[in-house]
Amino acid sequence: MLPIFLVSNKPFTGKNLISLGLALNLKERGYKISYMKLIGKFPYKKDNQILDEEAYFIHSMLESKEPAEYSSPFVWTYQVQYKLFEGENLKIDEKIFEIIERLKDKDLLFIISGDTYFEGYSLGIDSLSIIKKLNARTLVIQSWEGETSIDDILGMKDLAKDKFLGAVLNKVPPEQYFYLKDTVVPYLLNKGVKVFGVFKKDKFLESITVKRLLEIVNGGIVCGEDKLDEFVENYLIGAMDPGQALSYFLRVPNKAVITGVHRTDIQILAMETSTKCLILTGGLHADENIVNIARDKGIPIIVTSLDTYSAVDRIQNIMGKAILKEKDKALRAKEIVAKEFDIEGFLKALNI
């Protein structure tokens, strides 16, 4: 069994999504693949066991026969932090190595690091410790946030030494795609870094569901209950003069529009454009006419007693930071990996 370690130095770079996309592709080619997230942060109770919700989803998508706990051996909960600070030795590292030992008959095991290189250090499961202890081949998943993004890659290359496999550049703004391919990738190659894929920023993958919006603004749903699983890719705030609103709304597709419950002018205009959901703030009573129009157009309306600022603040905090738990997104990841990831080169680098 060959452990592949997907690392990043920032949260939400796409490690889980890419590993799933890759795993699904390799599975199709007949490889026996397993997945493990080292540090879970989205506790989820399944059959009296606390698992990471995302890890559990990936585990199901891969149709693994092993216990779900193998995919999510450790979740960072309040109890863990309490015990840790009380000085208890949690022996998380030992547990993880035991599980890995039991996955011997697999061809490949994708291990997902913490959010940064040092995350998990207190428990002995930070990126460097894992590389050292497991001899894991290390792949950096880097989200592109400007030129300094290369430093996390080059730094890791030096730290992982001969265990360094290469990098993937993710969340690349579409207009910079060719610049990266023509300039940055050759530069990295010249420095000894193989880039297996350059993935464009994908609005769909970064989208969140109406359901999640409902949850995050602690709202009530007035209509469109059947549309809770629709994906929202953008959000706009409707606070402007109605004269200017339309052109502003037209520019952004698949959006949620957040506006005051009394701004019926804005609400009507928003529903004339590509809107996935209306979030009405500052009251729980949507205008009846608006509800009728929304029903007619199949647009869900969420009402919340939060003020607009607080609602936006909460939404902003989760946009692009959704965990993976929808099948559509998983399949999309598989498709993108098949197209943009150099699977042949990857297998060759692994010598399998």
Binding site: K41, F42, P43, Y44, K45, I50, E53, W76, T77, Y78, Q79, Y82, N218, G282, L284, D307
Partner: protein
């Protein structure tokens, strides 16, 4: 006293003008031509004389002592004029000139300067940006409105000048008598409270009317109004009543309070009779011409037509006025004198062919009847109705009656003369039964206000060490920059002020939670303890009714998981284990803060009653015991607390006590701006607070 404004011996019009189109001319002319009984001096450096009266270049040059100066020069010149007036020892100023705060920017600066100056020189000022002042008794029309209204005993202060002009015009047309009128303008110095106080003491004023948009010093206004309203009716229109301007508030209570609520409550507390339209203002003023006040809310309606009688009865019923029949003796005394088809009960319908004789019979009996507090006489001019004689009978009855008698004559030409006669004898006469009754209700209200005891604010004894502790907690919070105070601190503060809270203890592990639960006794409630989480249920941070160790253990884990999911970075202290409170009724107790009047206490039933029906009551602090009771009785759902369907009643005494304690707390610590105790569970005996929050801050 502001006599120098309404009863000056001498007036200088600074900025008097020859030009008929200028306000400086109109004001001066009004004073001279309408017969002002004092001296008037024009001041204008460019003129030798105006309207044949010697003109002075400056107020300082006038040889006479000047009581009041009317200022009608451009705004920029006002500060130097004030200095001159100070040198000339002028006592009062009426600054009609506009161009101050209302234009913003420089105007605001200028107004500050002017306010500073009058304060420094000890001159009292009306305005700026006002219409002026009127006193009909000394024929002083120091305004630019055209004519003096008729003399009367009603005085009026108005924040709107234009409305003032309209009213004067209306009063002339309708022969409505005024005593004094003042247009408040921008209220840079004298404001509504000053004139309320003055009119309250003015022997020439019986009724006080007011139009206000805002109040400068809410607490002072309340204090003065409480005193005045016990002597004279104070009838006020307050504009700006929509809740559109309600400020966004961070707590429940604040949001429910809204913008206009504070004014309504303040007026109620102050005994002010509030009206909503100009029409209603005058209709209400009309009823207060009556010298006799009703002793209770029982009214007799006498009518010669069924329809209007029914309208009157309907309106009375809606307003809680009782239309009980006269006493048995009374009915027996008149039964033979009226036709058999007459209705002897209430309304007494003396039918269409009634003449003044029948009115007389009923009136004479009614004024003697112990069961009747007031009489409304309705008349429609029918074939043989001798309208004028009916009016005479009413006037006669009114002269000997100790009860208020008012009329409602419906018609046009046929009743004109009679109505005039009634009005000349100070008997209110309306043209619509519903208006008549609605106006009369205000007379009943006033009689209640007048007879109200002096408000007695109960002193609740809080041990000194408790107060000290509250002070300390608040200091620590304030120094830490905390504005939203969560349950833990809020409940400690409230406990120190005599509120009961469920037994509780913090657990930091599931095992500890079980241990605490065993000690407190099942069932228990678990709530996440984190200062960052105000709305605990929203993040899955609450578990109710856990009945055994296993449920508590799992509940602890579930809560910590939920919170991590919603707020991964929230600081969690642990999970608080509470005794579960069973039974009782959930109510909400709260405090909100109004920038004009200060703290208000709120009470309502819990849950949907508050959220959807907004069935809540408010009172401005400090509260009397009676007010606390009223708060509970006032909500629509108050019957629920009396126990429905065989349930025992809930402990209202406990609620009253807690309302008074909240009042005491915010009076002691005004830094507390809002409190939400939601829910408070009132039991058949006692009560217990389940969750509390506060907002603190200085304004």
């Amino acid at each position: 006293m502001l006599d120098f404004i309404f009863k000056p011996q001498s007036i200088a019009v600074i900025g008097a003008s020859e030009d008929e189109k200028k306000i400086g001319h109109v004001v001066f002319k009004n004073l001279v031509n309408q017969g002002f009984k004092g001296k008037v001096y024009p001041v204008n450096p460019k003129r030798k004389e105006i309207l044949g009266i010697k003109c002075y270049p400056s107020v300082r040059e006038i040889p006479d002592k000047i009581d009041l100066a009317i200022v009608v020069i451009p705004a920029k010149g006002v500060p130097s004029i004030i200095k001159e007036c100070a040198e000339a020892k002028v006592k009062g100023l009426v600054v009609i000139t506009a161009g101050f705060r209302e234009i913003g920017g420089e105007g605001i600066q200028l107004e500050h300067e002017v306010a500073e100056l009058v304060k420094r020189y000890g001159i009292r000022m009306v305005g700026p940006n006002c219409l002026g002042v009127i006193n009909t008794l000394n024929k002083m029309n120091a305004t630019f409105a055209s004519d003096l209204p008729p003399s009367g005993r009603v005085s009026f202060f108005s924040q709107s000048g234009a409305l003032g002009v309209a009213l004067i015009d209306w009063a002339i047309e309708n022969d409505f008598g005024f005593s004094k009128f003042v247009s408040l303008g921008n209220k840079a110095d004298l404001n509504e409270t000053d004139f309320l106080e003055y009119f309250g003491k003015d022997p020439e004023t019986d009724i006080i009317l007011g139009y206000i948009e805002d109040i400068r010093d809410g607490r002072k206004f309340l204090e003065v109004a409480q005193k005045v309203s016990k002597i004279k009716p104070v009838i006020v229109i307050k504009a700006g009543t929509t809740e559109a301007g309600a400020r966004a508030a961070s707590s429940h209570t604040g949001a429910l309070a809204g913008f206009d609520r504070a004014f309504s409550e303040a007026f109620k507390k102050a005994g002010i009779i509030r009206v909503n339209t100009i029409q209603e203002l005058f209709e209400t003023a009309e009823i207060f011409k009556l010298k006799n006040l009703p002793k209770g809310n029982k009214l007799l309606v006498i009518t010669n037509a069924g329809g209007p009688g029914i309208i009157a009865a309907d309106t009375a019923d809606k307003l809680g006025i009782k239309l009980n029949p006269m006493s048995k003796e009374s009915i027996e005394a008149i039964i033979d004198k009226l036709p058999p088809t007459a209705s002897l009960y209430n309304p007494v319908d003396i039918i269409g062919d009634a003449t003044s004789e029948r009115y007389k019979i009923v009136l004479e009996q009614a004024i003697k009847d112990e069961l009747i507090d007031g009489i409304c006489v309705i008349l429609t001019p029918q074939a043989i109705t001798d309208v004028e004689n009916v009016a005479k009978e009413i006037i006669k009855a009114n002269q000997i009656s100790e009860k208020p008698i008012f009329a409602c004559f419906i018609g046009g030409k046929k009743i004109r003369e009679a109505v005039k006669n009634l009005k000349s004898q100070q008997i209110p006469c309306y043209s619509d039964p519903s208006t008549a009754i609605t106006s009369y209700k205000k007379l009943i209200d006033f009689s209640i206000i007048k007879n109200k005891k002096e408000p007695e604010i109960p002193k609740i004894e809080i041990p000194l060490e408790n107060k000290e502790r509250v002070k300390l907690i608040l200091e620590v919070l304030e120094n830490a920059g905390v504005t939203s105070v969560g349950d833990e601190n809020a409940s400690e503060i409230l406990s120190l002020y005599g509120f009961e809270f469920p037994k509780k203890a913090l657990a930091r592990t599931p095992e500890e939670a079980v241990e605490v639960a065993e000690r407190i006794g099942y069932p228990v409630v678990l709530k996440v303890s984190s200062p960052q989480i105000l709305h605990k249920t929203d993040v899955g941070g609450v578990k109710l009714n856990l009945k055994n160790a296993e449920e508590v253990y799992n509940g602890f884990i579930d809560i910590t998981i939920n919170v991590k999911r919603f707020m991964p970075n929230a600081y969690i202290k642990g999970v608080m284990v509470y005794e579960m409170v069973i039974g009782g009724k959930e109510v909400i107790l709260g405090v909100s803060y109004d920038t004009t009047f200060g703290h208000m206490i709120m009470f309502g039933l819990g849950g949907i009653y508050v959220e959807i029906l907004k069935d809540v009551s408010f009172r401005i602090t400090p509260l009397t015991k009676e007010e606390a009771y009223e708060m509970i009785e006032e909500i629509k759902g108050s019957k629920i607390l009396e126990g429905v369907r065989g349930e025992a009643p809930y402990d209202k005494e406990n609620l009253v006590d807690k309302i008074l304690r909240l009042s005491q707390l915010v009076m002691d610590f005004p830094i507390i701006k809002e409190i939400d105790i939601n829910p408070y569970v009132v039991k058949h005996q006692g009560g217990i607070a389940l969750d509390a929050r506060m907002i603190i801050g200085r304004i």
